[in-house]
């Protein structure tokens, strides 16, 4: 579902990380590890076709991308945000679908307050509801653990496992290893001192 061969992202004509090879089949997770500044986010943005400077090849069909920014408009409430994301993908989501997704991330109580009033962790949970509603097979998640409390992290692992069990695939970057079943590990290493070498 998702594969890369000799993939190197570039920024300003310089390589960001050492070349990356992996193949992700349905039902698998890839945990992307790496130091701060190693290029995890750049790798994920390359796979999501937002960062377009790269060498090598990758294939990524029907994906969902979740960056550091959660893509929730702070003026809209959770339900309106999720509806809008559906429209963006050309889907019409019924109220029941949206409320059941919000129920699963334990956010049904705050579903009608503007996202500006939600805490960081609560906004993360609304973002998780967005993944649940999407029909994308591959999820590309950038540090999904950030700002989540203990129960939120358990919820995250449950959701990831469930998605994989349902024939999906997940690629996520993190600094804390998650107890996800059927997991591959990918370490992103920065290209060192390239600026000085030239």
């Amino acid at each position: 579902m998702l594969s890369a061969s000799n993939l190197i992202s570039q920024r300003g004509g310089m390589d960001v990380f050492k070349s990356i090879n992996f193949e992700l089949k349905a039902g698998q997770c890839v945990e992307v590890l790496g130091d701060n500044g190693a290029g995890k986010t750049t790798l994920l943005r390359t796979l999501a076709k937002i960062h377009t400077q790269y060498n090598g090849h990758f294939r990524c069909d029907n994906f969902l991308y979740q960056g550091h920014r959660l893509a929730l408009d702070e003026l809209l409430n959770a339900v309106e945000n999720l509806t809008w994301h559906g429209h963006l993908r050309g889907q019409v989501r019924s109220e029941e679908q949206i409320f059941s997704a919000l129920d699963r991330v334990e956010m049904s109580r705050n579903s009608l307050s503007p996202c500006a009033q939600l805490s960081q962790g609560q906004q993360r949970r609304v973002a998780m509801a967005r993944w649940l509603l999407s029909v994308a097979g591959v999820w590309i998640l950038d540090e999904p653990v950030t700002a989540l409390d203990q129960s939120g992290q358990e919820l995250l692992v449950r959701i990831l496992n469930q998605h994989c069990a349902g024939g999906g695939a997940v690629l996520y970057s993190t600094h804390v290893t998650l107890p996800v079943v059927n997991k591959l590990t990918l370490v992103v290493e920065a290209v060192e001192n390239q600026r000085f070498a030239r």
Partner: protein
């Protein structure tokens, strides 16, 4: 689906009233300051009225443009529009269109008031409205391209003005001329056609250029 996106844009606008009202307040303030500043002995107020009206409209548009993609850029919605949407182009076109609704169209509807405040004679007011209706789409669609390119800079306002104001020049030239001719009672159909032409070109090219500009800005984020 397009219609649904359009309605959600309108809902966003209704939540963000400052985005609509601030430029409008600026517009009226600008016109008022000019009419107060011109000495009352100068009876030829009408000569400059066309140019002044258009200039203030340009500035108002510029003021509103700065916020066109700013919030979307900051909260990551723009990333999603570019990578998740079926047709990013349509979503962006819709955004620019809604921007025109609350700047260009609104200014057109308020034009009689502004025109009278600037001393434009009543018989010329329908033409003033027509000129604004035909000319303002160009401002939104050209301006959006500039806004897309400068959205990544936290203080992009000045840069946006430098980038976009020269491109507004043709609209200013024809727009001001139309009003002056209307005041003088000269036939001005040709210039109205020119305004319409400029708007059509901006409408055709603008959304594509804006999409490309946004891709560049988001990539550098």
């Amino acid at each position: 689906m397009i219609l649904r996106l359009f309605f959600s844009e309108l809902r966003l606008l209704s939540r963000n009233k400052a985005q609509v009202l601030n430029p409008l307040a600026f517009l009226f303030l600008g016109v008022m300051l000019f009419s107060v500043g011109v000495p009352s002995t100068v009876q030829s107020n009408g000569i400059y009225a066309g140019a002044v009206l258009w200039f203030i409209v340009l500035l108002t548009n510029l003021l509103a443009l700065d916020g066109l993609f700013r919030r979307d850029y900051d909260n990551g919605v723009l990333e999603q529009i570019l990578c998740a949407s079926e047709i990013p182009f349509m979503v962006i076109l819709m955004r620019i269109f809604v921007h025109w609704l609350h700047t260009g169209l609104l200014i057109t509807l308020l034009a009689p008031l502004l025109g009278l405040a600037l001393g434009i004679e009543a018989h010329a007011l329908p033409v003033v409205m027509l000129a604004l209706l035909l000319g303002t789409p160009a401002l939104s669609f050209i301006g959006a391209t500039g806004a897309a390119l400068t959205v990544g800079f936290s203080r992009g306002g000045v840069l946006l003005a430098l980038l976009v104001l020269p491109l507004f020049l043709p609209v200013l030239i024809f727009g001001a001329n139309v009003i002056n001719d209307a005041v003088a009672g000269i036939d001005n159909t040709a210039q109205l056609y020119w305004l319409a032409f400029i708007s059509m070109v901006a409408f055709t090219i603008g959304p594509f250029a804006t999409t490309v500009g946004l891709k560049i800005s988001v990539q550098l984020q």
